[in-house]
Symmetry: C2
Subunit: 249 residues, 2 copies
Amino acid sequence: MLEEHLVSPTPDALTTFLQRQIHSGCLVQVAGEMEVQYMGRAMSMAEAGQYLVLLKGDGSLQVHGPKGVKPMNWQPKTDSVQVTVERGYCVLRAHRRKPDELVTITMLLPTLAQAIRLQEAAFELSGSEAQMQETLARHPELIEPGLTVLNRELVTAAGGIDLYARDREGRFVVVELKRGRATQDAVSQLARYVDAAQRLTGGVVRGILAAPEMTGPARLELERRVLEFVQVTALPALEQQAVQPGLFD
Amino acid sequence: MLEEHLVSPTPDALTTFLQRQIHSGCLVQVAGEMEVQYMGRAMSMAEAGQYLVLLKGDGSLQVHGPKGVKPMNWQPKTDSVQVTVERGYCVLRAHRRKPDELVTITMLLPTLAQAIRLQEAAFELSGSEAQMQETLARHPELIEPGLTVLNRELVTAAGGIDLYARDREGRFVVVELKRGRATQDAVSQLARYVDAAQRLTGGVVRGILAAPEMTGPARLELERRVLEFVQVTALPALEQQAVQPGLFD
DNA sequence: GCGTGTATATCGTGG
DNA sequence: CCACGATGTACACGC
């Protein structure tokens, strides 16, 4: 799995290594003192420091500092990655055409370069909004008795309505789901959809925000707009699962 | 800078290594076959695959697969990281209290473990919205002649207004900035602020969306709400800088 | 700790 | 390609 491993390579050796490994499909790493420059949607300059570069097989690039999940610099996709020797340093340029972006890394003092082969396996996530939507579409009574779901992800000019339904009295209902605490933004979003639906149908349309909880200001905004709130949870049985023995032994 | 380096360590050796290095302030890596489980805001399970774990000195954790900038699993902050041997495997548990989250990694076949010392240096970013705001606050004429800025980041019940100003005719103006293409959401946001300002002042308040461009639907929504658009760019001189010689030689 | 908003957001989806 | 919205968003900032 560790395909290649260089310690304190010379600029030439690092350049050759990178040129060889970049298209190998491996995850390629370089650690050491470097300077990183970015130009594109914004611009940034990181002066000489010790960083870790990850270049993945799909062409994505990230430069990590000592802190945080988020890389200091990155490039989600690259159209070309060039490695050259310039002024005695190995220089890596990762370019992306749309949007036009360039990350330039000057390897001042590389101390480590290696290639690792990774392999992804099955990955399952529960508790996403998509899953909530599926559950509620199958069991709309969890929102309100007598509710009938007409559409999921109904596309309108205002955007996609999570659930479009009819209540037991025949009124149309727009449901906006949030998997976490709902904010004012969620209320604005719901209001926009309700407006759009009202313009389309001509009648009165109810708007329901379905979320585990909401912020105080969101509640005020919701009441001001005469919209409704229904409590739903993304992970109904989480509490039970959390007390399963063996987790913190 | 490369503080320690183990190849295909035994579970015991890996456990000892991790327990020692976790509080060293180094960036700690483990690569190899592993199983990753997450429980907290949601739940996830990654079956046995080849992944790369990064544990940084600030307690953040990320598990990378072969593709993408975003880690497959992560933990932005941890309150405790425990490493034990269980059923013959080295098991790492990264726990966070608020929100209550747990990432569990079972190292099935570690092929590489190492500790690297990183050091951050000066980092400068241009073209952020904050910088746009500063520029426009100093040169409000770029938005409109005769504009006087009253507040930056004015906090209201509806949220923070980027720029609050008065036009040459004395009307209040709410300016919402976007550093990229503005969407319907941005228009909703602006509308919410304008509503709030109108309720406060009692008079008519203008709303200006200042961005480099906007989407088609956003434009329609803007017009429907009788709001205005002004073109501003986050990086005014980018084109000139992009054709500087030496970039693609 | 909450609420809010930005981000070079990234990423997937659907038209 | 564009538009839109979710994300276990992360992260910084103000109260």
